[in-house]
């Protein structure tokens, strides 16, 4: 049986797709056969972030409608042979995804894969609901910013009530906080909510902090998940997150300002 992870946030633009691509690659690199699914029907983008946009032939909706088999639609990643991508459809039909259809695809994938990462669309519409409905674990991607924190809290409420696990009175979805675009310097200056602030408000288990980093845009520009940029701070932060998720004990990094006391006193920007 596969473990199903939903990457969600409510708010758009906080890093869901970047995170989905990174952690799926991280899990696959660790030797676990992983599938990553784009649930953003009509606004597919995971393919671009994974760098496989020119290899899309069939998509998620084709599989649900029986127009293609899973094997035809799954795209094998060019960097890692343990990783497969299922792209979203570009249809404008809002009802293209059905609970039955999604359930069947996940069930079929579960036979062959160890982890299934569901990249949720923003918002709380059907695509977002279906992305989380079957999940075992939820990665709640949050920016240290008021609207993102509020929307994350809203998503936690929905995760707790509108999932398969909730409906069947099973053990609830495990929720983890991923704080992205974090700037320790701005936190020090009192310009940004700190990790502790966000955790106090959301009371979530912190899986990791990803610092604001140029490497994220560089990675998306080239269609290579940022986790493969091993020299970058964001890449290392995602590697730590994958390791922690798999049960390794990794101390948190990228939370404190690199500058020491004298740096704070005399250092400029």
């Amino acid at each position: 049986m596969a473990r199903i992870i939903v990457v969600t946030s409510g708010k758009g633009g906080v890093g869901k797709t970047t995170t989905s691509a990174a952690i799926a690659m991280g899990l696959a690199k660790k030797g676990h056969k992983t599938a990553v699914i784009d649930f953003d029907v009509g606004l597919r983008n995971l393919d671009l972030i994974m760098g496989c946009e020119r290899r899309v032939v069939y998509d998620f909706v084709n599989v649900i409608n029986g127009e293609a088999s899973l094997n035809q639609a799954l795209i094998k990643d060019k960097n890692c042979n343990m990783l497969y991508i299922l792209p979203a459809s570009q249809t404008r039909d809002k009802d293209a995804l059905t609970q039955e259809g999604v359930g069947k695809v996940l069930e079929d994938l579960s036979k062959d894969f160890k982890y299934i990462v569901c990249d949720s669309p923003a918002g709380i519409e059907k695509g977002a609901h279906l992305a989380m409905y079957f999940a075992d674990d939820a990665f709640v991607v949050t920016n240290p910013e008021v609207s993102s924190v509020r929307d994350s809290d809203r998503m936690l409420g929905i995760l707790a009530s509108k999932s398969k696990r909730a409906e069947e009175n099973k053990e609830p979805i495990k929720e983890y906080l991923l704080l992205t675009r974090y700037s320790p310097e701005r936190v020090r200056l009192g310009e940004m909510l700190s990790v502790d602030d966000v955790q106090e408000i959301l009371s979530l288990h912190l899986l990791g902090v990803i610092p604001e980093s140029k490497s994220v845009l560089n990675a998306s520009n080239s269609g290579i998940p940022v986790i493969l940029d091993e020299k970058s701070d964001a890449g290392q932060a995602y590697s730590d997150i994958v390791a922690r998720y798999l049960g390794e004990n990794k101390p948190h990094r990228f939370i404190d300002d690199k500058k020491g006391f004298f740096g704070k006193l005399f250092g400029s920007k």
Partner: protein, 89 residues
Amino acid sequence: MSSLLDYFKISKTSSASLAKERLQILVAHERVSHNQPSYLPQLQKELLEVIQKYVNVDKDAISVSFEQDEHQETLELNIVLPEHQTRKF
């Protein structure tokens, strides 16, 4: 020198602490309202109609609140009657 000033500026109210305060209030409020059963507004409306048949109360005089802890759910109904009750019948 600006960085030296920055360092001591933190003790003043920062925008981050303002953000935290606003969020704590908002999130607490929203958690309560989102956990309420969906029939609550309709219940409140119908109760008000029934009460208004017998007593002259205005629409702010009634409040229905729903609370939930681990062991029980409580539905609390609060009606403020006017000081000099003017009975309709």
